[in-house]
Symmetry: C3
Subunit: 263 residues, 3 copies
């Protein structure tokens, strides 16, 4: 049975480790030094425009057990995928994407470099996700403005933004650089860079400077206290992003102060 | 090992395609031209009243990898099940049920024809789901009024209703025909046909005519703009449902106007 | 292939039943009379401090198909794990833990006796969960106070507390004995024993005595009407907990009445 499981058409790099009962389909290109866990399905056939397109997995990647990746997607080096995640066709991701377990990426999504998804993140088709974004458990990026409609208005998440646990990002929402969507928030519309958004109505309640942890002194933007969690290659991008977000925060602080003064 | 995996007692139709390492238990009846993906468990033994009852899967069905279906359930023709979904015992579904990935159907549920669940839908026991219903990701249909209590008050969803992302439908809720439960809403009580329900308090904020997409002109009821997504056999039911929902909407518009006038 | 799947270093008790294609790693100790379903991964290697530590599963346990348990965790007798659940390293659980399907336990968690998780429960690292707790679908116990920060402030759930569907428990929250977190609530801070917490702001709206089901007369604390669902060994603990929670409820009722009178 084992011979059937690994397509002879797949291009498998050097020093690739496959777990037990891994299924590898035809249009697969796996980079060197990659590890794939038990019971994974790699290169699952896709329909439509991505049919027969390659699944490209960069070198030094780790994909944990029971995960399913479709053909027609590509990932840079150092991909990490947790257990039991599903990634459909049409995802184009940069380097060092790390997604947790039980993720559900519907496909047709552009993802930057050094992006992090925790467990159970749902990404609807049409999303555009910048560098260094964080998404936490049970977040849904939606795309249908009046479901069911067949319309697709994907979500855009600016570089360095964070979407927290159980938040829903409504269709067509544009989240600015470094913005923070709090837990159980329903985010919508155009959210300026550096904004702090909270609650079912998705109100902007201030800037991310409000996010300060008294005991440790750590404060957003997170680039001041969390940069060490990223690889060396990411550091200059983090520094540049930090400056841009600080500038956005300054601007928004002034706008909010002016709005308050005039009301 | 392969011979152990497929019970000789299972009734498997013509032209059925099984993926790698599919497990098929005894009380299974699979219709012709069905496809079952890798690592599925089909006909998992059930306890209680459904023990030893058949799992019936209609012809032309597709069940994707890593999904688990228990014995004691039945599905009409053209079933679609995504990856890594779990369907327990006691589900009775009509034709062309389409459910996505990571669904969790607890069992004891009646489901009409042409019903659509997106990913990660959780259906608690005792639910009754009408024809042409739509449920979106991370929705939970609950059933215990004061958990944990052992009481079961299933949810009823009227034909053509839509329950949007991350909504929770509280125990015993009855959702009328064509009603729309918005994202992250906590729905409760008796919701009239054609109602639009929004927010953590589950308020009725109007009728579904409010759901209009300016750019495209598409507007609810969805039967005007989304009927093409269903098979030919569904069209007369959609037309009849459309008329019924329009009538419900008219009635509710008048009621809400009268209530507003008197307040 | 089968021989590779089961490590000869694993300690497997008497009368243990393994499903098809179960993978068992080295540092595994499985108690007698345990059942493990198809496609499970048992004793998955962990990193960090738990690397090489045993996974201990008590006797008479049942773990359903497609589930994954890491090394470095221990579970008392009569463990139940549903399908497609993930339990990482560093979980120390008492007897008769029952978790449903699609659970995601991140690790580093202490769990008491007779605890129940429904489907799709997400437990972040650092949680401390008392005896007889209930958690319902799509609940997230978080741990990062200003994500992403690398800080970890785990959640504490007191004995007999219940966290309902789609609630989020914010980092560092301490939930008192027998408290009840309603569906879609965002719980935070120090929640007194016997409190009823509702809504996105996590307000205490009264005590759990408000949770009364008219038709059946069942009322919280649940120990009055739900004790029969637990095994005989749990009954004296339930009785003692009931008395403690009643005392907390009395105290809180008086506090809330005093606060109301003074406002």
């Amino acid at each position: 049975m084992t011979t059937d499981m690994i397509s002879t058409k797949a291009k498998i790099g050097r020093n690739v480790t496959l777990g037990a009962h891994v299924r590898i389909h035809d249009n697969v290109e796996i980079g060197d030094d990659t590890v794939i866990g038990d019971f994974c399905v790699i290169g699952h056939p896709a329909g439509g425009e991505y049919q027969g397109q390659p699944l490209q997995i960069g070198p030094r990647s780790v994909i944990r057990s029971h995960s399913i990746l479709y053909e027609g997607s590509s990932f840079g080096a150092d991909l990490r995928v947790g257990h039991t995640s599903l990634i459909r066709e049409g995802v184009k991701a940069g380097v060092n994407l790390q997604i947790g377990s039980f993720n559900d990426l519907e496909g047709d999504t552009v993802i930057g470099d050094w992006v992090r998804f925790h467990s159970n993140v749902h990404v609807g088709r049409g999303a555009v996700i910048g560098d260094l974004v964080w998404i936490f458990p049970y977040v849904v990026l939606t795309n249908d403005p009046i479901p069911p409609s067949g319309l697709k208005e994907g979500v855009t998440l600016g570089a360095g933004s964070a979407v927290c646990t159980s938040a829903v990002v409504l269709p067509g929402t544009v989240v600015g650089r470094g913005a923070f969507i709090a837990a159980m928030t329903r985010a919508r519309g155009n959210i300026p860079g550096g904004a702090l958004v909270v609650g079912g109505e998705g109100h902007i309640v201030g800037t991310i400077r409000k996010l300060r942890h008294k005991e440790s002194g750590k404060q957003h933007p997170w680039m001041t206290h969390f940069a060490d969690y990223y690889p060396a290659e990411a550091q200059s991008a983090i520094t540049a992003l930090h400056q841009a977000v600080e500038s956005d925060v300054e601007l928004l602080e002034r706008e909010l102060a002016a709005k308050k003064a005039s009301s």
